[in-house]
């Protein structure tokens, strides 16, 4: 997936300026930068979540497998099936664990009980949650812990077999152990999915990603291998940010 000269504005205010960024296939790309730098806006633009915000506009190009996702030929629902999203705050539906994962499949018209169960199991396994919930699939999802709820949301995204997973601060509300589980899961998921993760936790970006992109005031300042960004960044602004200095 890739963005070319992508610009996103809220009314007059430009939040993302002329960003060119490729998310390498089956790798993890971390988007870092201070609050308000445009990283979350950029992430949301990739599956057109900004369309839902009044006054938001988008210029430039976003390509999925070489096809435009902004010219309107690709339906937003289909786009969001192929490009799934996991949010900062886990947001399971107030339904059973099973129904949470099956929801997207039912919307897509799958109602065969056996097929549904098979896909739900595979998604829960993929999200490293199966062992913890296999005996209580019919219980309410809101009874799960925060970390389990977040993995349930990942399972829900995986159920519709996406190509790309966008994660916006997926572990910022979790304790260190639940965070480690999510990070471990990200390592496993990248064998099958292209992943972009927005995080304020720089150590997390360093741990989970292959590529790191540093955003500042709506611009993509620097992108490089995660090792390079954290040991020897080229741009002074990146250096100041990763070392925690006054700009």
């Amino acid at each position: 997936m890739e963005a070319r000269k992508l610009q996103v504005a809220y009314g007059e205010k430009i939040a993302v300026k002329d960003v060119d960024l490729v998310l390498p296939e089956k790798q993890v790309t971390a988007l870092i930068g201070p609050s308000g730098c445009g990283k979350s806006t950029f992430l949301r633009a990739l599956n057109r979540m900004n369309d839902l915000i009044p006054g938001a506009s988008m210029k430039g190009e976003v390509l999925l497998d070489g096809e435009s996702v902004v010219d309107g030929r690709l339906d937003a629902v289909e786009l969001r099936r192929r490009v799934g999203m996991v949010f900062q705050k886990s947001n399971p539906f107030p339904k059973s664990i099973f129904e949470n994962v099956a929801y997207g499949l039912r919307v897509a018209g799958l109602n065969d009980r056996t097929l549904l169960l098979e896909r739900v199991i595979r998604s829960l396994q993929g999200a490293a949650l199966w062992e913890e919930v296999k005996d209580r699939l019919q219980e309410n999802a809101l009874g799960l812990s925060g970390g389990q709820q977040q993995r349930l949301c990942i399972a829900r995204a995986l159920a519709v077999q996406p190509e790309v997973l966008l994660m916006d601060e997926p572990a910022s509300a979790l304790d260190p152990l639940a965070t480690a589980k999510i990070e471990d899961l990200i390592h496993e998921l990248k064998a099958r999915y292209t992943i972009a993760i927005v995080t304020h936790n720089m150590q997390q970006a360093a741990r989970v990603s292959d590529t790191t992109a540093f955003f500042y005031m709506g611009e993509l300042v620097e992108v490089g291998s995660t090792e390079q960004i954290f040991t020897n960044p080229r741009e002074p602004r990146t250096e100041d940010y990763v070392t925690g200095k006054f700009g």
């Binding site: 720089m202 150590q203 360093a206 954290f230 040991t231 020897n232 960044p233 990146t238 250096e239 100041d240 990763v242 070392t243 925690g244 200095k245 006054f246 700009g247």
Partner: protein
């Protein structure tokens, strides 16, 4: 450094670490100067002082190692801070070894002071001055984060090696001419060798400074030819 860390206590820790490395470097500089002066001036007391003061160098090595480990564990330094910490961890080992070399020379000085003077020792003094200058410049390059200055240290090491060879040959001739001089000449030869090694450690420090500033490793460049 113009830009400072937002977290002032972190800034203070990095500053304190840099100060301690300089303190250690200063002690080692004084030690090598003192040990060679002790030989040239036949001053056993000065040599004993160098030997005693090495304890301070050793203690600083342990302290600095600890400070680096603490910063790595608690601050998770990145980019230039990370390179500064890993450089410090390596520099401290070189400095400690340099202190030991000064002690070795000081021990020879104690020995030599009890025997008749062999001959004028101008070249040994010059060798010492070059080694000392190499360390001083490497430390200066470290404090000012100046890779150009560090490169000068690398270049100057060739002069040091050439001078060492000259001293070596002279002492060898002295021994061949007068077998009674062998014990004293051997002591001087070891001292000269220690000074040459001292210069190599200064070169290591300079190479690490270049890495710290530029992020590129220049070690073993000669082997690539």
């Amino acid at each position: 450094m113009i830009k400072t860390h937002i977290d002032k206590s972190y800034e203070a820790e990095l500053h304190a670490l840099r100060e301690r490395l300089l303190e250690m470097g200063g002690l080692v500089e004084a030690a090598i100067a003192g040990s060679v002066r002790a030989i040239v001036e036949r001053d056993a007391a000065m040599a004993e002082q160098v030997i005693r003061k090495d304890k301070l160098v050793n203690r600083l090595e342990v302290d600095i190692d600890g400070a680096c480990r603490r910063i790595l564990a608690l601050r998770q330094p990145a980019a230039s801070d990370l390179r500064f910490i890993t450089t410090s961890l390596k520099i401290v080992t070189d400095l400690e070894r340099m202190g030991d070399l000064a002690v070795n020379i000081a021990r020879r000085a104690v020995d030599l002071a009890q025997t008749p003077a062999l001959r004028p020792l101008h070249d040994l003094g010059r060798l010492a001055a070059l080694s000392e200058a190499a360390l001083a410049k490497a430390l200066d390059a470290f404090v000012t984060a100046d890779p150009v200055k560090a490169e000068e240290v690398l270049e100057a090491d060739d002069h040091l090696d050439a001078l060492y060879l000259k001293v070596f040959n002279e002492l060898l001739t002295t021994m061949m001419e007068d077998p009674r001089a062998i014990r004293r000449a051997t002591s001087l030869m070891f001292s000269a060798k220690h000074l040459e090694r001292f210069g190599d450690h200064a070169t290591n420090v300079a190479e690490m400074v270049i890495f710290m500033v530029r992020g590129t490793d220049v070690r073993h460049a000669k082997n690539k030819d």
